[in-house]
Amino acid sequence: MILIQVVLIAAFILLLLKFLANPNSYQIKAWKKIIGILFVFLAIMAVLFPDLLNHIAHFFGVGRGADLLLYLVTLAFIFVVFSQYVSSKQEQKRLVKLARKLALLETELKSKK
């Protein structure tokens, strides 16, 4: 197995387990920011030194810099989709609790009349 395969598979599994398990912990929030900053930093570097991306790609066993970019973007995309899904489920649970409280209060008010 070439290095990129190991890195990608490990990253997929880590993302799924770690981030899904507890999406709102402060550690995860901090990691999101670190990864975000790293991404921007790498993006700027890639714009300034186009060859750099190719060198990094070769280091990981990937043919071209553009391919490496595609892999990373895919990873980022999957991560964003999953974390959005999880957080929307959590929002839904909060909404259910709120609406239930409202419904029960309204019924209570009606019965007092």
Binding site: L16, V96, A99, L102, A103, L104, T107
Partner: protein
């Protein structure tokens, strides 16, 4: 004899055509009927108000699981209620089955009695629906360690102890599996009794699509990964 320590919980979503008839059938035997109108867009609420049932209006549509949980929380406020029954709005359940299940839970030391379509007679079930339901049962038994013949029956009778612990969080149809998981988790004593379900043209048209099994399975698996 009317059973005054029983709350019949009926989640209702767009059932204006049949809900009044269903409620009146139940009211003849059970005085406390709690209808949760889950944000219906037809005149379900008006139809319920014509009866003596208690009407709780969800301000927006939340899903059947959420509606049942709302009904349970309302019923729990009344300390004289000992037994909780979940009942479908479309008239596919029979009162005799509820009475039968209540007699069992009163006599035997179980926390919950579940209705099973596969122990009893089932009228007009399509072969595909039957196959999917059987597969769902296998999956459910495998993941919970319980031995059931029907995992997704809407007719259930349970006691106060279970009602307090139930806490349904799956707002949609996945709540049926969630209830089974709660039984396994808290080791409630359970019993399955045969019930007869009438799959009328009306209930078949209203019934959930088989494809929804995919949604339910996915949500349940995801809930395992994401600890709450």
């Amino acid at each position: 004899m009317k059973e005054t320590d029983v709350a019949i919980i009926i989640p209702v979503y767009n059932e204006a055509r049949v809900i009044k008839q269903t409620i009146q059938g139940v009211l003849s035997s059970f005085p406390l009927v709690i209808c949760i109108n889950d944000g219906s867009i037809d005149n379900t609420a008006e139809e319920i108000e014509k009866t003596k049932a208690i009407l709780i209006n969800h301000p927006i549509n939340l899903g059947q699981g959420a509606a049942i949980q709302t009904g349970i929380e309302y019923a729990l406020k009344d300390p004289s209620i000992k037994y909780f029954v979940t009942f479908d709005a479309d008239g596919q359940h029979r009162i005799e089955d509820v009475k039968n299940m209540l007699a069992y839970i009163r006599k035997e030391k179980v926390d919950v009695v579940l209705g099973s379509r596969f122990l009893g007679a089932t009228e007009n079930m399509t072969p595909l629906k039957k196959a999917v339901l059987k597969a769902a049962v296998k999956f459910s038994n495998f993941t919970t360690g319980l031995l059931l013949t029907d995992a997704h029956n809407g007719l259930r009778v349970f006691n106060r102890r279970m009602a307090e612990k139930l806490d349904i969080t799956m707002p949609d149809m996945a709540h049926a599996s969630e209830i089974i998981h709660r039984i396994a988790e808290h080791q409630f004593a359970y019993k399955e009794l045969p019930v007869t379900i009438a799959y009328t043209d009306y209930s078949k048209a209203k019934g959930q699509s088989i494809m929804n099994a995919v949604n339910i399975t996915f949500d349940l698996l995801l809930q395992r990964v994401t600890k709450r």
